[in-house]
């Protein structure tokens, strides 16, 4: 039984109270992501960084066009090459870099809009949640440059206080050869 079936099965069997609980949880996660996206689009990177746990890993594998038979090797894995393989320390470094006034890829800054959709809570053990969401990150830069990145994220969210912390983020892009000159933005 895959995760999706498990969740659907759970939903069918759930009582009204359980379903209301699930809705509330979904609402909290959704609000968390919307707030996160707003921080990124407003270039409020330091506050965005604050959403990550100190031991967080931020990983965007390389994707490869492979045959159906070998799709299990479509994405690279931790310990292999990646587009992002960051600790919180490195994310911090990236933000320091952006604030220097000499990070030319982002000065003048690009304009981004993060659209977060299709949120699904895959697991919830009370302390941590595993959540999948889709994104469309739209970027324009200077006068005529336009980039669209569409993909999905799989997060491990920790319940902290009344909200969440991102303990792990994996970003899966719908591109193999990256069709843009850089990845100077966050996902």
């Amino acid at each position: 039984m895959n995760e999706q079936q498990a969740i659907s099965g759970e939903r069918a069997a759930a009582s009204r109270e359980e379903r209301i609980e699930a809705m509330l949880r979904h609402y909290e996660v959704e609000r968390f992501y919307y707030d996160e996206a707003a921080l990124l689009d407003a270039h409020r990177y330091e506050e965005w960084l604050g959403l990550f746990a100190d031991d967080a890993r931020y990983f965007m594998p390389i994707r490869r066009t492979r045959t159906q038979r070998e799709l299990d090797r479509e994405f690279t894995r931790p310990g292999e090459m990646a587009f992002f393989d960051d600790t919180k320390q490195l994310l911090t470094g990236r933000i320091i870099k952006l604030r220097t006034g000499r990070a030319w890829a982002e000065d003048p800054p690009s304009r981004t809009r993060h659209l977060i959709t299709n949120i699904r809570v895959l697991k919830d053990d009370g302390r941590t949640l595993e959540v999948e969401s889709n994104f469309h990150v739209y970027r324009t830069r200077l006068n005529s440059e336009e980039t669209s990145w569409i993909g999905s994220r799989r997060d491990v969210l920790r319940r902290v206080g009344g909200s969440f912390q991102i303990a792990d983020r994996k970003i899966f892009l719908e591109q193999t050869v990256l069709l843009s000159r850089n990845l100077s933005n966050f996902f």
Binding site: T65, E80, A82, F83, R94, K97, N182
Partner: protein, 455 residues
């Protein structure tokens, strides 16, 4: 197009260190490059470790030809065009993987991993059994050879053997990676597209004048992972000064433009070159430098080669980096688009911790999200864009830093220049580009790209 030799000579002046900007955007020049450079030179395809098992394949690019590099059952490597002999369809769409055969999805012609045509639907009924299958295999690449695990191919059957083409300079470039150990490519080739001409991306790899400005933001305190992340306790210090102590752009006494930045430039036949610091320089850095102490490295590199810590380029487009061992290809797609491919190599025998550190640094320095490389594309795209305006393109590109002052020392088969930061390696690349573009035969090309006494 009939570009005469004298017109080509006018585009690149070795004496003045000037380049005509048309070479970065003129579509006819690009077409001629495809014929005279990319259909003749030995081009890097992939590393042996990427295709260890029979049927393993990697899809490479030679000019605009898509090429399948395939491990054979007898352990050899074959490379062939990825185009069906019938009506041209690609017979493989995956970037890499393992195949038992290659099937054309148009009419079903099927080829063995050796490229031989095995199956033709309707062979007896439609072709009356008369199709000569032996002549209709996947077209083989004219020459394929491997140097210490690095597989190259050329479309030119008359090209000199790979080792001769590489010469001492090209071999040194690859030895600087190969002699670190039993090297293998880490899974995952980073590929991305920059809106720039391929030559702008190539000449930048020799350029040790730009890091302090282009990459200024990456050298700020606490940006690059440094202290505590280098297992030998040292700091990653590309600028030659301790940036954590508040260095600024005026690096008077050290760093990349300072007096302590000693470089060694190597110029080679056919346009290969190496540019950047020597190991005696304050700007020198190897992430894991112990390998240079081995007798394997000392004997293999020789007394001159062991000091080379800069960036080699195998003409035209294969950059062998030295900090983290990587090969970066600058693959021309059209005059204004270049694909960058990063292959990262590690010694199979590295301790797990050092291996992980090397891979982590490779992911963080170069590549599209790399702390250094994310700012490069901006410059290259804008520099390319400014070669399109009628007035802007009349301005010549300058590569005249130190021109006429580079005294060439010939020793151990290598032609080297010692001194401070200069643009000799870039200029040599453009000079050699012009010789290739004249369509000289191999002997004349070698003569025209043999360094003299001075640059």
């Amino acid at each position: 197009m009939a570009l005469t030799s004298s017109e080509i000579d006018e585009m690149v002046s070795l004496e003045r260190g000037e380049v005509d900007r048309r070479i970065y955007s003129d579509p006819e020049i690009f077409e001629l490059e495809m014929e005279r450079i990319f259909a003749r030179a030995w081009l890097f395809l992939c590393h042996e470790s990427q295709i260890p098992e029979p049927g393993d394949f990697f899809q490479a690019v030679m000019g605009r030809d898509n090429v399948l590099v395939v491990r054979q059952r007898d352990g050899t490597v074959r490379a062939m065009l990825n185009t069906c002999a019938h009506r041209g369809n690609a017979v493989c769409r995956a970037e890499e993987g393992n195949a038992r055969s290659f099937l054309c999805t148009y009419h079903g012609w099927s080829y063995g991993i050796d490229g031989k045509l095995n199956g033709v639907p309707g062979f007896n009924i439609f072709y009356n059994g008369e199709l000569d299958k032996k002549r209709r295999g996947l077209p083989r690449i004219a020459q394929v050879a491997s140097y210490k695990g690095f597989i190259f191919g050329t479309h030119d059957p008359t090209a000199p053997p790979l080792e001769e083409f590489l010469g001492p300079t090209g071999r040194l470039g690859l030895d600087l990676i190969a002699l670190r150990g039993d090297m293998e490519v880490v899974p995952g080739i980073q590929k991305f597209v920059i809106e720039c001409n391929w030559k702008i991306a190539v000449d930048n790899l020799f350029d040790w004048y730009h890091p302090q400005i282009t990459h200024a933001s990456a050298f700020e305190p606490d940006v690059m992972p440094t202290a505590g992340q280098r297992r030998d306790g040292g700091k990653i210090d590309m600028t030659g000064v301790n940036m954590q102590n508040g260095a600024n752009l005026e690096l008077a006494g050290g760093g990349i433009i300072g007096s302590k930045f000693e470089t060694v430039v190597v110029l080679g036949e056919y346009g290969h070159a190496i540019g950047g610091p020597s190991t005696s320089s304050s700007g020198y850095f190897d992430l894991v430098p112990q390998w240079r102490e081995t007798s394997r490295a000392k004997e293999g590199l020789g007394p001159v080669g062991i000091k080379v810590a800069g960036h080699p380029n195998i003409f035209p487009t294969a950059w062998a980096t030295s900090g983290v061992p990587q090969i970066s290809l600058r693959i021309p797609r059209d005059p204004g688009h270049t694909e960058i491919w990063w292959f990262t190599l590690v010694d199979r025998n590295l301790p797990r911790e050092t291996r992980d550190f090397t891979i982590m640094m490779a992911n963080r320095i170069f590549g599209p999200a790399g702390l250094l490389e994310q700012d490069d594309g901006e410059n290259w795209a804008q520099a390319t864009a400014q070669t399109r305006g009628v007035a802007s393109r009349r301005v010549r590109h300058l590569l005249n830093m130190g021109v006429g002052r580079g005294r060439i020392i010939k020793e151990g088969g290598l032609s080297r220049i010692e001194g401070y930061t200069n643009e000799h390696a870039q200029l040599w690349t453009y000079h050699s580009w012009a010789q290739w573009m004249k369509g000289l035969d191999w002997n004349d090309l070698k003569k025209a790209t043999t360094p003299g006494d001075c640059i």
